[in-house]
Subunit: 314 residues, 2 copies
């Protein structure tokens, strides 16, 4: 996998410059340790997902150009695939649940993707996606559980290693597990003294619960400010990597996530979505330098307004 | 002045790492030109003002440590001086108008400054400041019209030249004129083909109006979302530099400023204050690469909420 990440890095270099890693003076002061933020919210579509979207497409560009691509996502991966496809001269069909927000639909269409509706279940979304793939021969871009996706995600880990010296604790949001699998592979290979800590919302603990037993656990996603992290079952491939390389998985409450989004806006002047802020929500006081991956900033404007109005954490 | 800027750069290097310059995919697409954003909102106090605050203090550190410092500001410079003083082991008195918001007072105190109240006029603020300076022998840090302040501001220009190749148009907010004086001095010295464009709110056109005639014009600041840019009269020193080096000064409406703050939050995931967003508000379509200095992000949380709720510009 590490070799695939290095290949992905070379592929992405012409299309995606590294995102900034900044030291947060405010968080460092508050927590008594150096806290760094990796600003994936500044990616073209507002999340890290452009990395795997581009990598999957560029790794199979001939097929993508001749047959198009298809993916299954109601959120950040949808927008990222639409964007990467448009930039690469590729036709993209994105299977989204009917219940997905107008905001996400509009953004996906705005980046040039064609939205295909399905029923409001993960099962229906996958069924529709696989049917389109089989009937049309389109290239399937998986949101988390393919080698190209994990390798694209892993480029973020390589950037961290270049941007920060010495050992650090990396706090990485987990949905299907692609991002943390890629980051952990890169970071542990190059600097094994680093720790990689996954973070999920208490409302959606699928990976957290799955690593306890022998097989993947299917949970029922509950409403959460970290809506981008909702997934019923972790990937098979990502689960194996997480078991092997991730040091710990922490769960954070809705209250902590809300407070983190609010602090990031008011004190750090960064708009983060709930799923992008879980790393900050999980940060403990003291210890060695911490890196929080702000994985995305695509929060609904009305949600951001209500978070800004929320009372401070007692 | 260019030599002073280079000295300032060396002085600030250990305390303030360069802020990121990012390419905004969204704005570049929308305006049909490469648009870059210089993220001063990510500075420790949320604005570029830490540059001149540190430079003024470190240039005269012995006096600052023995007698303390004093400044006159109701906003970003107040917070920056408080921060730089605390970091440098210096006592700071900050003269603020009684009417300054609780948010700004609390932030100034939070960074370790002592707030001294004065009446709600610029005249009273300066009178109080000068009196303290004379009675106590404190080092006066001027928010815009001293060589050390302009030189500290100019370090931002040197960073731009390192971060971006080729000629560009720089859009720089103007209040007293310190920032644009420093940036124009650095940029025009090294790359004279660059253009430097100042931006003010229509509500506060003091520099815009002053460069037309022979002498500085005093205007009555009107309420504006770009409250950090409100100043009655530009500096003498800055007015001279602006006349000589700045290519143009544009005025932007409240509606445009509101729209810019909203777009930056929703599309670019950055919290900018009104005064920090005027460059984006002034951007015209097409042309060569543009750099907008996002000078600060210290918008009142309730103002940000109302901006997010504002209707789109027709």
């Amino acid at each position: 996998m590490f070799g695939l990440i290095q290949q992905a890095r070379a592929r992405l270099a012409p299309v995606l410059p590294p995102t900034p890693l900044i030291r947060s003076d405010f968080l460092s002061r508050r927590l008594g340790r150096d806290v760094f933020l990796k600003l994936e919210s500044l990616q073209p579509t507002g999340s890290f997902k452009v990395r795997p979207a581009f990598n999957g497409m560029l790794a199979n560009l001939e097929q993508a150009r001749s047959a198009g691509v298809v993916t299954s996502s109601s959120g950040n991966f949808a927008q990222a695939v639409a964007y990467a496809a448009t930039e690469s001269g590729v036709d993209a069909q994105i299977v989204m649940m009917r219940g997905a927000s107008k905001f996400k639909r509009d953004r996906t269409r705005g980046f040039g993707g064609t939205v295909v509706d399905c029923e409001d279940t993960f099962a229906s979304r996958w069924e529709t996606t696989f049917r389109i793939q089989e009937e049309s021969g389109r290239l399937l871009l998986h949101p988390y559980d393919s080698p190209e996706t994990i390798a694209g995600d892993g480029t973020l880990g390589l950037e961290l290693l270049e941007q920060l010296e010495g050992d650090f604790d990396a706090y990485v949001p987990i949905s299907g597990g692609g991002l943390i699998s890629g980051v952990a592979t890169a970071v542990k290979q190059v600097r094994p003294g680093c720790r990689v800590i996954g973070v999920q919302a208490k409302a959606n603990p699928s990976m957290h619960d799955s690593i306890k037993g022998e097989t993947a656990v299917t949970t029922r996603p509950e409403p959460s400010l970290a809506d981008a992290l909702a997934v019923a079952t972790p990937g098979e491939r990502t689960l194996e990597i997480v078991r092997r390389l991730v040091d710990d998985i922490e769960l954070v409450s809705e209250k902590r996530i809300t407070e983190a989004v609010k602090l990031l806006a008011n004190e750090q002047k960064l708009v983060a979505e709930g799923g992008g802020a879980v790393g900050v929500a999980a940060l403990a006081r003291g210890g060695r330098p911490a890196v929080c991956v702000l994985s995305g900033g695509n929060i609904l404007p009305e949600k951001l307004r209500s978070v800004l109005a929320a009372a401070a954490l007692a």
